[in-house]
């Protein structure tokens, strides 16, 4: 899942670098200030360990035994695991940035595109993995399932982000990229989920003091909601580009049975999830407006429920 040099134009690669540098700087600040002591050396040693454990290649067919996956292998990334153990997504950002820098010396991921790779595996993987786990835990979902889901998404979503980056770069078509990365990263995500649950359980048995349980249980709901909204906004921007132009089953049936009778009787505000005359931007805007409306309704209902 490491993008090599030349697959993303320099201008776009620079943007990913700028975003990643912001996150790396914040992660270093976290390591310096938020940990119990100044444990930066410990992180350096741990990054070496994570680098080495990423060299353990596992057959994809071990997870899902289908012919398509014959010869395909994956390795644990560990961004969700690191974030959950240290109770902070910044741990994942810091560790992944270091591991990716050394991996680039092996030609595993490029130099100009390292920003994009850090953004995918460190930032998206770490934040989504961690806050999915926290969010599901707050909903009283079984811990191992919450962890599995977090680790699964920490593999799947960076893969989808990579497909979008290659599409923006003009290197690979979007729908095929999302489909292929979805399949491969989805399978790898299942493995990552199982391994994360096993490793976390083993660490909890051997060294429970390593896991920052207190912070895990006290993590604020606002942060979870903020990351959730950010993810939904990302989905809102992505959806129009992935959506099929063909009608769904109900629309197809209605058009066959009722011909053009429905369309002429009802005037829709955002017909086909789009603001007329604005193209793709209108489709994105319509979904964002819809998302905002749902969030407002949800906030309103939850406030009323609290008062009741």
């Amino acid at each position: 899942m490491h993008i090599p040099d030349t697959f993303i134009p320099l201008g776009q690669a620079a943007i990913y670098w700028i975003i990643s540098i912001f996150f790396i700087a914040r992660a270093v600040k976290w390591a310096r200030n938020d940990m119990k002591e100044n444990m930066i050396p410990l992180f350096g040693v741990l990054a070496a360990g994570i680098f080495v454990l990423q060299t353990i290649n596992i057959a994809a067919s071990l997870i899902v035994p289908i012919p398509m996956l014959t010869g395909v292998s994956w390795h644990i990334v560990g961004s969700a695991l690191a974030a959950i153990i240290f109770a902070s997504p910044w741990a994942a950002v810091l560790l992944m940035a270091m591991v990716l820098a050394i991996q680039s010396l092996f030609g595993d991921g490029g130099i100009t595109v390292m920003g994009a790779n850090i953004l995918n595996m460190g930032v998206i993987g770490g934040f989504m993995g961690y806050y999915t786990f926290i969010g599901l835990s707050k909903l009283s979902v079984k811990r191992s399932f919450a962890m599995f889901t977090g680790a699964f998404l920490s593999m799947l979503l960076p893969g989808i982000a990579l497909a979008f980056e290659l599409w923006l770069a003009g290197t690979f078509p979007l729908k095929q990229g999302v489909l292929l990365m979805g399949i491969f990263q989805g399978v790898a995500g299942i493995g990552e989920g199982f391994i994360t649950v096993i490793v976390f359980g083993a660490i909890l048995k051997a060294r429970p003091d390593i896991v920052n349980e207190e912070t895990l249980t006290k993590e604020s709901t606002t942060k979870v909601a903020a990351v959730g909204i950010a993810a939904l906004l990302g989905l809102a921007v992505a959806a129009p580009f992935l959506a099929s132009n063909n009608p769904d089953g109900l629309e197809q049936t209605a058009s066959l049975v009722l011909k053009n009778e429905i369309g002429s009787r009802i005037t829709l505000l955002f017909s086909d999830y789009a603001i007329p005359g604005m193209g793709r931007a209108g489709e994105v805007a319509a979904i964002i407006i819809g998302l905002a409306a749902i969030l407002l309704i949800w906030t309103g209902i939850s406030r009323i429920m609290k008062k009741v």
């Binding site: 790396i24 050396p41 410990l42 040693v45 741990l46 080495v52 454990l53 010396l105 130099i111």
Partner: protein
Amino acid sequence: MHVSITEMERETYKKSPIHGIDGRIKILMTLGITVFVVSLPRMETLNFTKLGILEAYLFVLMFFSRTELSHIIARFAIALPFGLGISTLQPFIKQPFVNDFTIISSLPMGLEITREGVLYGAIIFTKFLVCITSVILLSTTTSMSELVASSRRLGLPKEMAMLFTMMVRYLFVFWNMLGRIRTAQKTRCFEIWNRKVPRKWTLEQIGYTISLLFIRSYEQGERTYQSMLCRGYSADANVYVNKKNLQITDFALLAVTLGIIIVVQMRVF
């Protein structure tokens, strides 16, 4: 083909004119070549000449570095697959930045091979090849500790320098540790690809191996941190990097590299 990090590091301790060049110069050369290659136009046939000259120059440097040919081939074999895969698919893709396509061949299932796709695939792969060659040259002639020290001299923030120093120091320790764990597993006839045992059991064993490595690296980190504290480490501590002046040969190589890039860009050939 397989190259371990110890084999890779062993190559960096050879003596050669390229090994003797200052790490800063080699880092700047690699960055310069990579950025230049990536910035080349996407659909220009002249790119092949430009990239050919750069690749030839890098191979000349590699020849002078006395790196084993088998090592270079093995490094390429590891680095190329993903890039090769995406480049190979380009002839079948309609690139959004191309206006008109010339269809060379129509295949079943609506697949078409276009002249522009073939050109873009070939250019992107050649560019990728040059970038990989420059990275291989850097990493086979510069040790990891020298790379960190040189990056620090080039202005890498002290926290990052500290992190990389620790990481590089223990990379080989954990690599050997994983090797020992694997040997121990082999003596017990454990094989990750063995399909005769239940998948759940195999996954559990992999999970336990990873847990072991994680806990051992964490505990090594703790011990290192404690011993650093005993030696007076604090939040304000800095990684010591000795001053190193650039030699005339360093400047010469940098000038030659920049000269070649300028000549290639100005099309003076």
